[in-house]
Subunit: 478 residues, 2 copies
């Protein structure tokens, strides 16, 4: 039963000297610098190399033997076992503090019970979404003799929905005929397919720092090297961006441009133009995640519009604005990439669900979605004003005033650590989103992301206040 | 615009000398033995190495330059371009005859118009599926105030459906509590997640020869080395299986055991037992795709039942028996693999659709599914008898008489080539499934797979007969 290692075991030993030795060996096995069957450095060599005691190395090796990672052969030392244990996702990248790693927030938000408040959550509460509209659409799809509810879909996805998407993209200046649009099971699935097509293990990918935290987890699953570029209120810092292009020769840049997550910033036209020029000069491909498109009152510049889907791939979904229960997203890309993307989609998921596509299509054409967007934007604008005011009273600084959307990025006073705040508030059943969840360089220690649609209860600010007082006391003592 | 290469260009040059030179270089670039920026062998060196003319190499290099794969620098030769073009899936493995590659059948079947007959298709026609039941379930889900139609699901997937799955698995002797079951967007998505968790690029995977064709496409997307083991009417050939374990040290074995696709064979208990013993001795993990479970009248042995989910992972879905439009599958695996599988699922698809899971759950609990299975099995048994009789009249030999299910694997007379038959019949709007689509060793040239639910029209046998006559004439002339 040596193939597996309970995650708890990783966590228990993390941060200790024994854990360091184990981590060192695991990394070398994971990166295949120690292949299965290879001899593991002797206890003596390891003791000297890592500057730890012999008993530490002995204990680390014993644990790795117990976990089936290495085997001991009497009289001849230790060897990498025939089958290294499967790697947990956390093993694929730099080890972060588990409490603020990119998956922490997802798990906390998804598994929270109904009594938990989630100002740090990445989506709106069900009451802000058109659940009644979804129910009506379900009944309509059930009644419609044209809807195909048993068979596999066309590999591209429901033609009528792709036609709708083509029109919607055109409104943002992105010219994508339905033949250049592929449906997926949500925005994450769209990005995953694009990465499968464009990335080889070991390729470098640029992301914004901070950015949507799941980009990091997804890119690690693709074994990409991740390089962060600081984000400014008008887009990525282009001086650092250009330096990264020269130094790291990245294959891809993944970004949200309409309304940036987590900061709420908007890409300035001049930055967009210059960014695309650099991309052209350095052979960079850009994936523009347009998932917040429909939060905007007025469309901000789109990289995909400027570029004409030449080196920009546009992805999006309806999970944030319509329903996350009906997974439906899309990829719009240059014509000759569509066939290989569909081959990959068939190979790895055999096509997306006709049922959810039919439901989404129905909501787009019957006016439900348009009406919902209008009222949702008005509600969000009110909530944005209110949240910013309350954060101001609490002593936080808003980094930039978002034009639209649901996120506010705010800095804590007095060098407080947002991870401490999040940990403390969790005890009071409030999930905050500490900045470093979004930051590959871990440079957002003092920031929190607030979702204004989840911030309308006094308890949110009470929990914030108490957590801040607690953190201040702890830091004074230290 | 150098990142892409239209697929047509690959196909046009395939099989020519110029194509050989291009293929040679592309493979070395894809495998990173030539890295971006590296110097490409000179025209003289390449001419000698491949034994082709200088003009052939010059033309190949010119085309690769035009495609942006390599760049010419005046006076100093050719270099691998900064960004090799993204690889199409077909480039990731051995190049097969495009007309019978594993994706050919999928694309033909999915994109066929309504006038096309599909005896080679892998699923049943909509009229054999409980489409009315799906409509009723949709209405019921729409009405139910308990159904959550806006929010993301619990990361494991709908608890009530996982409980149902636990009961169903127990009926096949597989003990999996709901906590060891993860919902996915279909069976392919389930296998994809398991491969993401267990495989590193370059790992070897055993598959049955023949087997479900999409296993090959999916495993190539994971950059796995694929080794086939001949399938016998009672399971894999264990002599070859054991030899493959010793020689190739595979990480995984992926199989269908209840009713084998494409052959309709059933695993014998003695083979199952011996196979698991070998797996234990060689540290092999087995993925058992149980997608045809509900076609059985009596449950055949399950590897997952014998093994108790220790080194067997069980996956399945409802796409074949209920609806392919409501994508819903599952993974049942050992307890300590569940958390990392969920991390990967969140990172790469952010969880599965609550909506489709609710619809499937409703159909399971309201009796629709049970009643549908009973009538479906009876219809399939009739169609199986009829199809086997008709294939006998046409001169084909059935390889083994399936206990249940929809597939018959049959050999053509007179050494006819099934790919020729399939190509010819396509002209008459009939899609057959040539054996080599399923065979990694391409050793099933004389076989076709028939789906008995799609074989009830005389035109199927007329097209078969005419294609066989045509192939016989062509082979006499040759």
């Amino acid at each position: 039963m040596g193939e597996s290692e309970p995650k708890q075991a990783i966590e228990r030993t993390q941060g200790t000297r024994v854990g360091t030795v184990m981590g060192n060996l695991r990394e070398r096995i994971a990166s295949r610098s120690l292949m299965p069957g290879a001899r593991v450095p002797s206890i003596r060599v390891m003791t000297e190399a890592l500057g730890v005691s012999k008993s530490t190395v002995v204990e680390a090796y014993d644990r790795l033997v117990a976990q089936g990672v290495i085997v001991a052969r009497r009289g001849s030392g230790f060897f990498v076992s025939g089958h290294a244990p499967p790697l947990a996702l956390a093993d694929l990248g730099p080890r972060l503090d588990r409490e603020v790693d990119p998956l922490w927030l997802t798990r906390q938000s998804l598994q929270a019970g109904s009594k938990v408040l989630k100002p740090g959550c990445g989506w709106m509460p069900a009451s802000w979404l058109p659940e009644d509209g979804v129910r009506r659409a379900l009944r309509a799809v059930a009644r419609d003799p044209q809807s195909s509810l048993a068979e596999y879909s066309n590999p591209y996805g429901l033609p009528a929905l792709r036609q709708q998407l083509a029109w919607r993209l055109a409104q943002h200046g992105v010219e994508a005929p339905p033949e250049q649009i592929v449906l997926t099971d949500g925005g994450t699935h769209a990005l995953d397919l694009v990465c499968r097509f464009l990335l080889e293990p070991g390729d470098t990918v640029l992301i914004d720092d901070p950015c949507y935290f799941n980009f990091q987890a997804l890119l690690r699953a693709h074994r990409a090297r991740i390089v962060g570029v600081p984000y400014t209120p008008s887009g990525p810092d282009l001086v650092v961006f250009e330096r990264a292009l020269i130094e790291h020769r990245p294959r891809l840049y993944v970004t949200n441009s309409a309304i940036h997550n987590p900061t709420g910033a908007t890409l300035a036209p001049a930055v967009a133009h210059r960014l695309l020029k650099l991309a052209g000069e350095h052979g960079l491909i850009v994936v523009e995640d347009d998932i917040f498109a429909d939060f905007e009152d007025e469309a901000a510049p789109r990289l995909a519009a400027f570029d004409g889907l030449s080196r920009v791939v546009s992805i999006g979904s309806f999970s944030k604005t319509l329903s996350a229960a009906a997974r439906c997203g899309y990829i719009a890309a240059r014509a000759e990439w569509i066939e290989p993307l569909i081959d990959l989609k068939l190979a790895t998921s055999f096509g997306n669900g006709q049922l959810t596509a039919s439901v989404v299509h129905r909501l787009l054409v019957d006016g439900t979605y348009r009406r919902h967007l209008e009222s949702m934007r008005a509600k969000l604008a009110d909530a944005m004003g209110e949240t910013m005011r309350r954060l101001g009273y609490a002593g936080l600084d808003v980094w930039t005033r978002p034009r639209a959307g649901m996120f506010v990025w705010a800095r804590l006073p007095d060098s407080l650590d947002a991870a401490d705040i999040a940990r403390h508030a969790l005890g009071a059943n409030v999930v905050f989103a500490p900045g470093n969840v979004f930051s590959v360089s871990q440079s957002a220690t003092g920031y929190l992301r607030f979702n204004v649609s989840q911030c309308n209860r006094p308890k949110v600010y009470e929990a914030l206040q108490r957590a801040m007082e607690n953190a201040a006391v702890v830091s004074e003592r230290a």
